[in-house]
Symmetry: C2
Subunit: 191 residues, 2 copies
């Protein structure tokens, strides 16, 4: 099982945003692009992969969504359809425990809750981390990353108690492209 945890600093936590105005909804466009990058493969869903999106924007932060490839029949590739899907999840009446909405999960969980709960091997993406080519990735990796601004220090520190810093190069890449690259590296290594 492979997973990704994306920290979104300002991603809205209700469905009151327009599918045509995703940038304004706390960079929900970025979140939407991560879904196919994480879960799409060969015209279906990666059934061994989960994407956790931790949203910290108004009005009811924190909220975390979990997209589980094994529960999905198809993965939408365009921003608009993914935005529609996120809105459906955020419209549900969820609390502290995971609520299943057609195979995807939503809960009032924080970034730290997800780190605490995971049994995966945590890798925090960071420009100053160990180059990935020198890291022997263990099974069940969880790759943790921030949005366009990056992880807040507090969250990064918390994740690092359980994991290690890795880097995919000195360049800053788009988050969705980081996910695509990490998926590709794992595919190549057969993890």
């Amino acid at each position: 099982m492979r997973s990704f945890l994306l920290y979104s600093r300002k991603g809205r936590t209700d469905s009151k945003f327009e599918e045509e105005k995703l940038v304004e909804a706390g960079r929900m466009d970025l979140v939407c692009r991560c879904i196919p990058a994480a879960l799409w493969i060969s015209h279906k869903a990666r059934d061994d992969t989960k994407l956790f999106v931790n949203l910290n924007g108004p009005p009811r932060a924190p909220t975390t969504i979990c997209f589980d490839g094994s529960k999905l029949v198809k993965v939408y590739v365009d921003e608009k359809m993914n935005a529609r899907w996120i809105k459906k999840l955020l419209e549900a009446k969820y609390g502290k425990d995971w609520l299943d909405v057609k195979g995807s999960l939503v809960a009032k969980k924080s970034f730290q809750d997800i780190i605490k709960e995971t049994k995966s091997n945590v890798y925090v993406l960071h420009e100053k981390g160990t180059p990935i080519e020198d890291v022997e990735l263990k099974e069940n990796p969880m790759f943790v990353m921030g949005d366009q601004i990056g992880l807040p220090g507090k969250e990064e520190g918390f994740a690092l108690r359980k994991g290690e810093k890795i880097s995919i190069g000195k360049n800053a890449y788009l988050v969705s492209n980081c996910i695509a690259n990490l998926n590709w590296v794992c595919d190549q290594r057969g993890i």
Copy 2:
């Protein structure tokens, strides 16, 4: 100089499509996602990279757009802004020769015209190609790929007269993610 050539089978060749209905415009959503995958790096444009998009949809196919990272101040990351940019280019009165529209180029050129004109080393992305880890990529690579359906046999054969087939794995990846992966491999190898 690194370049990508994307063959879009049905991408519209006029601006009569809505930014909110990109899937219906011959999968212009896919084209839009390739722009940041090819050109965005570290919050600016890759100044050593070009993306050629060859559109073969109605009403005036073939049309090719060339996005040149060295001429761009910024690269939009969301589909909508990129769609708006493509529409501006398609609205211009272009003919057989490249027309410069604020740093990007548009012309009534075919896929084969671009292959004929390029001085780059051509690599055609194909599931049955040589694995990229076994290929010593030469300088000035041009990576050629099809859309969600793939390259037509005729175009593939033409490109292969000048180049070779390479593969990034047995899985089918999203075209934009293929571009992201190829950019990353080239970055890692310092090409």
